[in-house]
Symmetry: C2
Subunit: 249 residues, 2 copies
DNA sequence: CGCATGCTTGAATTTAATCAACCCTAGTGG
DNA sequence: CCACTAGGGTTGATTAAATTCAAGCATGCG
């Protein structure tokens, strides 16, 4: 349904079947495993389960989340094609994972993964890099949840979704939002009503235009960046300019 | 001032001077480095700086934080004796670090650290474990910031501070809070007023008693746990019981 | 002793949550 | 093929929680 229509990714991962043959050789570990199909809403694993497998997302998307005892849900991330689930865990899964749409994954035993990684000096930096990226994303999310207004949260989210998908450089790009409003709300620490109202407000400002339930056209990218509350994005790959500060003490 | 008076830690780390001689051999990497003194408020490094060193905290404490362009500050963690700063980073520091009290640290070149780690199969699991712990803490913090009330946040924070210090098993334990109320507020995503009011309310409920500006006596531990919004703590090391869920889908 | 900083308390305001209708659309069955 | 329905989404009115603004209090330091 959603990201099934970009075969670049599949080509890329299948073109590096041997360990150490490229920057994404981590995917090669999953190469010979059978593809598993998850239908929308289906669980992959639960928080607290013994972490026996790692998963590679081939197509579709997952939400990963934690639930408080009284039912409050916090989505800590969305995963899509190319992502690997479960790198940062020890004996038990830190969170639950569910498909947000029909999704294809491959799995590998965690033991096998760890054995491969510890025996391959080529793989280790890649694992390390993924962990650090995950950590950086978690830090950004803490900033968002801690100090950003509803509008800033929604704008930040839209930008993040935009930058992670192909075609984010064109004139009036479309952001795909395969998840529901409730998912977005639980990811941004808001309610569905607030998410909805904020999107409407952004539409009224001419910053975006609704393009069906699961996508949005960005009409004023610069304004979106301004309203996201972050420092300006650098020209290309969606990272923030790190400013080598000096403003406190 | 604060944690200077528990020499156990110093004994522990100096008793394992050789690589691979114990579960905490990571500290041995810093063993021959000179001790550096930071006075309260002093910066160690800034977000965005080239990450040339890793630091080991010997005594005292640090806050690590990010700042939005308009000055809003988010403290993403507090570090104390035994912690290592900078494991989860690539080329630039993800955050700034400042001493919250007079603090002693040792530093090691990141290149040297990485060389040592990649050449030592004993060290690697330890680095990995620290990264995973950091990730788990970040996830918990996201839950706190996303969905917990002011009271739940403060209770969670007090429990976390309590469990990380020695002597948390005694009858009416004392929680040390070396940081200011502003630090706590910026860590919990609240204002100082809300933190202050919430502490007062907890005191009125008989759950805690003020014991000077920088420490608090916990008088009803169980009530504190209830109010923290988490599932019950397990008997010992302050971790949450992971419940092998099954409540959604 | 007196100031400055950090902390507490109170009143007013603001933001987002909650409660409640209603709408839209995709999918179903007649 | 079209009407119906259910779920997700939007919009509006009200409420609650935390922030903001403002004042006063303690503690620690010169």
């Amino acid at each position: 349904m959603l990201r099934a229509d970009n075969p670049q990714y599949l080509r890329e991962i299948t073109s590096s079947p041997h360990l150490g043959s490229g920057p994404d050789c981590l995917h090669a570990l999953f190469g010979r495993q059978p593809i598993e199909h998850l239908s929308a809403g289906q669980s992959l694993f639960f928080e607290g389960d013994a972490a026996r497998h790692l998963f590679e997302v081939l197509e579709g998307g997952l939400r990963i989340f934690k639930i408080l005892s009284d039912g409050r849900r916090v989505i800590t991330g969305f995963l899509q094609a190319g992502d690997i689930v479960g790198v940062s865990l020890r004996n038990h899964y830190l969170y639950s994972a569910e498909a947000i749409v029909d999704t294809k994954v491959r799995r590998i035993l965690r033991k096998a993964f760890e054995a491969e990684v510890s025996s391959s000096p080529e793989l280790r930096p890649e694992v390390f890099a993924r962990l650090c990226d995950e950590m950086a994303a978690a830090q950004d999310q803490m900033v968002l949840l801690s100090r950003k207004s509803a509008e800033e949260r929604v704008c930040t989210f839209l930008l993040k979704q935009l930058h992670r998908n192909p075609g984010h450089r064109q004139a009036n790009p479309i952001v795909e939002l395969p998840m529901t409003r409730l998912d977005i709300a639980d990811y941004l620490g808001l309610t569905i009503e607030t998410v909805s109202r904020t999107m409407t407000k952004l539409a009224n400002k001419g910053i975006l235009a609704s393009a069906g339930r699961h996508s949005v056209r960005i009409t004023r990218y610069c304004a979106l960046v301004q309203l996201s509350g972050d420092d300006e994005y650098d020209g290309d790959e969606g990272g923030l300019i790190a400013y080598g500060g000096g403003q406190r003490h």
